[in-house]
Symmetry: C2
Subunit: 233 residues, 2 copies
């Protein structure tokens, strides 16, 4: 049985990655990282998803990237934008995926897992450099050189099964596999109850994904200014 560490953020994409791995019969160890993001709602969501989808174990590691800042997600003084801008947005967290993959690599090595799965995507995404196929390939190459397992001849594979899917395709794939997306949280600034703002880049891409897939959007949205609790879809 293949054993894999699955990076599980609590969002839509990584929930789908876990479902795909489980459907392929993989023994899944889910890893979430508390890195100083704006809210804990996505970590609570990750715990629910790991349980619902039969991960063998779920661990949360902590690394305080707020100590470094440089992103709207880790520095409260930088606002999350609600209108699309030019270039790489301020929600980009420096080296976040490199750090998360490194932590997954450490756990994979201890578990003697042969795969790491990550839900990055280069179609409907925000232009982050560490979501591209060449980044994933470079990390896999690094992983093979960095570890005892690599030196001893059982190199790790780094899989990004959503890389070339649109958000709508990801949603359809998840629905096909029976994923319940209602607990997932994609919003950059969800409230304490995990309700989405409906306006940030991540909410916009997610909402459009459900619309394009023709799947009802189960996202719980917070009320918008001037509205009282109604959904904005």
């Amino acid at each position: 049985m293949t054993r894999a560490v699955i990076l599980l953020s609590g969002g839509l994409d990584s929930a789908t990655v876990l479902a795909l791995a489980r459907a392929a019969g993989t023994e899944c160890y889910a890893l979430s990282v508390s890195y100083g993001q704006r809210h804990q709602a996505e970590l609570n969501a990750a715990a629910r998803i790991a349980l619902a989808q039969g991960a063998r174990e779920h661990r949360i590691m902590h690394v305080n990237l707020g100590r470094i800042g440089g992103s709207a997600l880790t520095d409260p003084s930088i606002d999350v934008p609600t209108t699309p801008g030019e270039g790489i947005p301020v929600t980009y967290v420096p080296a976040r995926n490199t750090i998360m993959l490194s932590l997954a690599l450490a756990w994979a090595e201890v578990l003697k897992a042969t795969e790491i799965h990550i839900g990055v995507n280069a179609v409907d995404y925000s232009g982050y450099p560490d979501c591209r196929p060449e980044f994933v390939a470079a990390f896999e190459q690094l992983a093979r050189l960095a570890t005892k397992a690599g030196v001893e001849g059982t190199p790790l594979s780094v899989r990004a099964p959503l890389m070339n899917l649109s958000k709508a395709q990801i949603v359809r794939e998840g629905v096909r596999l029976g994923v319940d997306y209602s607990p997932t949280v994609s919003c950059y600034q969800a409230d304490a109850q995990g309700r989405a703002c409906g306006r940030c880049d991540s909410c916009r891409i997610r909402r459009e994904g459900f619309v394009s897939a023709g799947v009802p959007d189960p996202t719980r949205y917070a009320s918008l200014p001037g509205q009282s609790g109604e959904k904005i879809v």
Copy 2:
């Protein structure tokens, strides 16, 4: 002026790396990582070294690798060996250098630093896979793909200036640059006062380095069984 993030463990090697960078006129930001190692003495040493050698700033980041274990340095149930063994020793911490370089990468990106320096060494070392030149080259390649700076055309360099030096050469280089090695802690299991055990692999390599360099060993050793406080050099 070149700006660099210097990984500073509090040991002999990284103290030398910082001295080399300062001698070259580099503006140095020292980063230490509290990863659940057996003692805090090396982090205290790092703070003293950063100050003594004129780092512009020193930060300590926390990531609890004890949550993952798999090493004598992060799992108290695994003893630190005091006799050399075969293969990669149990003091190897899975993915440690990958994780530390990733954290350095995050800070480098925020600082707009163009270099990361790490004190890894492939001559007098313990056979760890993540101390080899091919590992450092792979991380540099990854860093160029992972970051906004890389995408925008100012890629980072990852420097390992001690890679091909023997421990004795490192000591001589440091002495030439005026490094005071007395506060540095290399021991895997130093006591709360930072005194070295004198018996682990790291102590052995360090001690032999001073002897070969013909430099008096300033290491503070704890008393050994059957001895009372005397130095074991």
